[in-house]
């Protein structure tokens, strides 16, 4: 299974499908690995956590689900993994419905939860064996050893989980999620409260998994994490998916650029000759700020600079900045909140 995915994970549907490709795997590749339709979740308390969520996750991608606290990220993951029961809607994993055919659906999914929760007195190796068995896989000590070595936990295999450091405990959670060789891995806020070094190490682990063809869905509110790792990004707020888009396209489409022209002498008002550029002026008059769109045919930078120079303004410095995912995210969520 893994090998099959690994071979195909670079495939993008936009490219032409080779005509001689064997039919069955092609269909597998074309169909999304997770498909969610019309998902609603209302908790017993009356709280609506998810409203009409439609989402498709492609094979082998890293999908980042971004959203503020309480947006419904964890509920969405929990519904996919079977931890909470959806009120309405359907979820299918690799073509298997998560309710009617839950055994097949769940057997290929691994979940790393947000909270570190481990049986405190049990040895690391035993907790991992336990998970593998739970998912219906016969014992495979060699595989478990590989996982523990990769996550630098092999030396701690005989330690009770309560004696490990916080970072190690998080890695045990990952080891547990990988114990049954899942094709899909959910990471719910994997690096919340984790130091920089461990965060980097976790990103490397995730990248290695992706190279093997594992589909990865992570929730985070660290934008840099999504920016660094994800192929596609979904933004969720108040239980609704606001947007799902390829990360690069999203940044290009929504990410405007900004040029700041620093002047030697401050100006009191924007000269008439520069009015057509819809510039803004900093309060102290030392800076002119120009917002432009890099996807447009002409950015207008050249004519702006020549107009500035014709006006006789002395330029001290020019800086440009592309809006980060964080800006895009904050804008979107605020827009949603304002509605």
């Amino acid at each position: 299974m893994l090998a099959l995915n690994a071979a195909h994970h670079t495939y993008r549907p936009s490219k032409q499908v080779p005509t001689l490709r064997i039919i069955v795997p092609t269909e597998r590749v074309l169909s999304p690995i997770i498909s969610i339709q019309g998902l609603h979740k209302v908790y017993d308390s009356g709280f609506t956590a998810l409203t009409d969520v439609n989402l498709e996750i492609e094979r082998g991608e890293i999908f980042a689900l971004l959203g503020p606290n309480g947006a419904g990220k964890t509920t969405l993951i929990s519904a996919i993994c079977g931890l909470v029961r959806q009120t309405r809607g359907t979820i299918s994993i690799d073509g298997h419905d998560t309710v009617d055919d839950f055994r097949k659906a769940r057997s290929i999914v691994g979940l790393v939860p947000q909270e570190v929760s481990l049986e405190p007195f049990e040895k690391v190796l035993n907790t991992i064996r336990f998970t593998r068995g739970l998912f219906g896989k016969p014992g495979n000590e060699k595989h478990l050893e590989e996982i523990l070595r990769e996550l630098s936990l092999w030396d701690k295999r005989k330690s009770p989980t309560s004696q490990l450091s916080g970072g190690m405990q998080r890695r045990v959670l990952i080891a547990k999620a990988l114990a049954h060789e899942p094709e899909i891995l959910f990471l719910d806020e994997p690096t919340a409260g984790v130091d920089v070094e461990l965060r980097k190490a976790m990103w490397e682990t995730v990248n290695r998994l992706r190279e093997r063809g594992v589909t990865i869905i992570l929730t985070t509110h660290y934008i840099e994490e999504a920016e660094a790792m994800a192929d596609r990004i979904g933004i969720i707020s108040k239980g609704r998916i606001l947007l799902v888009e390829n990360k690069k396209e999203l940044m290009t489409r929504l990410g405007g650029k900004q040029m700041t022209i620093e002047l030697v002498e401050p100006i009191a008002a924007i000269p008439d000759s520069l009015q057509r550029f819809s510039l803004r002026k900093s309060e102290d008059g030392h800076e002119l700020i120009y917002d432009y769109d890099i996807s447009a045919d002409r950015s207008g930078i050249a004519s702006l600079l020549s107009a500035v120079s014709s006006e006789g303004l002395m330029v001290k410095d020019v800086r440009t900045r592309q809006s980060s995912l964080e800006d895009i995210f904050v804008d979107l969520v605020n827009e949603d909140g304002a509605q």
């Binding site: 908790y43 017993d44 993994c81 079977g82 931890l83 909470v84 029961r85 839950f102 055994r103 097949k104 659906a105 769940r106 057997s107 999914v109 979940l111 939860p113 909270e115 929760s117 481990l118 049986e119 405190p120 007195f121 049990e122 035993n126 064996r129 336990f130 998970t131 593998r132 068995g133 739970l134 998912f135 219906g136 896989k137 016969p138 547990k176």
Partner: protein, 253 residues
């Protein structure tokens, strides 16, 4: 059926038992010995015979029942409550297993533990009194059924409980009084008629009576009534568990 999962849960739960093996064995052995010292030697010497039996021997089936009832309930309740409490239940809920497998794993382990403890008490009792077992097969069967059905009951409590306090509540307020008033230390015939009738509403009376019959061929109620009572209780618990799992009550909502 996901047999690997059942075995996995069962092994994991049993390892908890064996991790604390000293405590698991010492505590029932000690309390049984204390019962024998107090009821058998101190008080029992003044009670000559009950239903023609030596009092020390008479209380053994009741003692075993008392212990396996409370142990089954608290083991099973704790077994499922603890993962809920520490959060590791997420794994069980996200695994490709049905409730039936979860119940077999957890309840099976809890019942095994209390069954072992029952056997330990039986062995300990042999050091104090002469203890014939007239129907060993039935004795084991009664013990087995009791362990299973009360572990099922404990499992329900573990699912229901939202705090350690609630977890202790039912065993303390329901199981212990029912067991003490269920004829563990006396024969129903020793009670005034009105209390005899009231006692017949206590399900534990049927368990102890049936179990005692397996030892001494003597019973307060007919054996088939005892069997019926255990079977009915077990079905009741199974029904409740099926309902819990169908609705996701306290678990998936």
């Amino acid at each position: 059926m996901n047999f690997h999962a059942i075995a996995s849960i069962y092994r994991f739960e049993m390892s908890r038992f064996f991790r604390t093996i000293g405590q698991s064995i010492v505590s029932p052995v000690l309390s049984t010995s204390l019962y024998f010292v107090v009821f058998g030697a101190a008080i029992g010497s003044r009670i000559e015979e009950v239903d023609g039996l030596d009092y020390g021997a008479f209380i053994v089936p009741g003692l075993i029942m008392l212990t396996i009832l409370t142990q089954s309930v608290s083991n099973a309740a704790f077994g499922i409550y603890f993962p809920k409490f520490i959060g590791t239940i997420y794994e069980v809920l996200s695994a490709p297993i049905s409730f039936i497998e979860i119940v077999i794993g957890y309840v099976g382990a809890a019942a095994t533990k209390s069954f072992l403890i029952g056997l330990i008490i039986y062995i300990t009792a042999n050091f104090f009194v002469d203890l014939p077992v007239n129907h060993p097969g039935w004795m084991l069967a009664f013990m087995f059924l009791t362990c299973i059905s009360f572990a099922l009951f404990g499992f329900i409590i573990g699912i229901w409980a939202e705090s350690f306090e609630q977890l202790q509540l039912v065993p303390l307020l329901v199981i212990t009084p029912l067991a003490f008033l269920g004829g563990a230390f006396y024969s129903l015939s020793m009670l005034p008629p009105i209390w005899q009738t009231i006692s017949l509403f206590n399900p534990v009376v049927y368990l102890i009576s049936g179990f005692r019959w397996a030892f001494f061929d003597q019973a307060d109620v007919p054996v088939f009534a005892s069997l019926l009572a255990v079977a009915a209780f077990m079905l009741l618990c199974l029904g409740a568990i099926a309902l819990i799992f169908r609705t996701g009550w306290k678990v998936r909502n």
